[in-house]
Amino acid sequence: MLVIDRLTFRYTESEHPIFKNISLSLRKGEFVSLIGSSGSGKSTLLKIIAGLMEGEDGHIYYEGYEGNRLGKIGYMPQKDQLLPWRKIIENVLLPVEIRSSNKEVEKEKATALLKEFGLSEVANEYPSRLSGGMRQRAAFLRTIMTGSDLLLLDEPFGALDAMRKQDMQRWLLSVWERLGKTIFFITHDIEEAILLSDRVLVLRDGEIEEVSIPFSRPRVPDMIFGHEFIEYRRLLSEKIREKNHL
């Protein structure tokens, strides 16, 4: 679905590159997480994949093609970015308006999904009336309404407290399993990454290392206490920090 081939990127000429020759690929229907310490370049990678920036070297192929990706990939930024002057339903339909597809059909789809996401009651409310978790769900739904098969989520649960986060993780997994989308998910929470993903990519010092997570699905929240799970936590936290110890 997406292939990155030896990508190199830096913000300014003089700077140390944020990515040095990184390669990765995402397969259709996968849930892949990207972890790394803050400032390691996670958000930057997402913006590049979404098509907002170009690498100075390397290739990116989406659905086999190299070229403009704007308007083709669903991107959910770190802050929800709901527009305060639009009702939730209008916020959710923003991508539909932008690509001016059949609004009636899409509105029906959005209404059904709002219901599934537990947002029907606030469909005609403004974002300021919603809790953090609801806002995240609305922003996620807006991302789905782009109609893209690949969804890029930038730390969607970063600002939520532990309890809400667990609920949202379970909810995200159920939605993903049903909709069959490909999700590329950024987090700095190792536990979250293992719980949700088929694979975890560790970004450190401009390089990417991959760890497969073989746990079967559907996954239950209790698995985080399992012996094997803890082994993966240890492995990943070592990988994130490795260099700093030397």
Partner: protein
């Protein structure tokens, strides 16, 4: 009710001043032709009510509204022009900055020279005082959208025009209203000055005529009306603002 609680100290003080003022004039501590008592001002309002309300208020209001209309239209056109075209921006931005540093009132006599006693002297004066603050606020408002939000729209495939319409314009509205509220009062200043330069009617003209014949109650009555006009205009705009922005945080 809540407002009353918040402002009651200020209102009390104001009443106190009025009472002392009234007493001071009635006791002849201050001559009434210099400073008429509040009751005399109200009486003056009544005495000149025919002229004030049927002629002068209407003229001034007309000048203000027409001037504001032109200012808003011109400010929108130029703000959008500057926003989209680097060239227009480069031409006008320095002028904008300079306009903030020169005493605009000094330019006003030029309008009398050009337009004489016609309404256009006054309308031009209103525009002179309201155009720049409107333009500055609008232009700043249009530029306020954060890159993160622009990025989001771009990933949806939005073109520049869509980003402008769906995000940058709504984002500029609060700033536009702040400008409009400031200008509500400026525009009345402009109309008054315009009328001083040359007019046959209007509250500013009336005030000056009264002053030249030392009828202080008439002067103060027109001052009171002009102040109220500014206040009412401000309140109306504030009310529209609230209505428009009520759902935003």
């Amino acid at each position: 009710m809540k407002n009353l609680k918040k402002y009651y100290q200020s209102i009390l003080f104001f009443l106190l001043v009025l009472i002392i003022w009234e007493i001071a004039v009635r006791q002849d501590w201050v001559p009434f032709f210099i400073l008429p008592a509040p009751s005399m001002i109200i009486a003056g309002l009544w005495k000149y009510k025919e002229q004030l309300f049927t002629i002068h208020l209407g003229t001034t209001l007309y000048e203000v509204l027409v001037g504001l209309f032109f200012s808003v239209v011109a400010a929108i056109l130029l703000a959008v022009g500057m926003f989209f075209s680097k060239t227009i921006q480069r031409i006008f931005y320095p002028i904008l900055i300079v306009s903030q540093t020169i005493p605009l009132i000094a330019i006003a006599p030029v309008f009398a020279l050009w337009f004489g006693y016609s309404l256009w002297t006054k309308i031009a004066a209103v525009i002179l005082f309201s155009f720049f603050p409107l333009l500055v606020n609008l232009y700043d408002g249009l530029k306020m959208t954060k890159d993160d939000l622009m990025d989001l729209l771009k990933t949806m495939g939005a073109n520049r025009w869509q980003i402008f319409r769906k995000v940058q314009v709504p984002m500029a509205i609060p700033s536009f209203f702040s400008g409009l509220k400031v200008v509500a009062v400026y525009s009345i200043t402009g109309a008054t000055i315009g009328e001083w330069l040359g007019a046959e009617s209007g509250l500013g003209y009336f005030g000056r005529r009264m002053a030249s014949t030392l009828r202080s109650d008439g002067v103060f009555a027109s001052v009171l009306l002009l102040s109220l006009l500014g206040l009412i205009l401000f309140i109306i705009i504030g009310w529209f603002e609230k209505l428009t922005l009520k759902n935003r945080r």
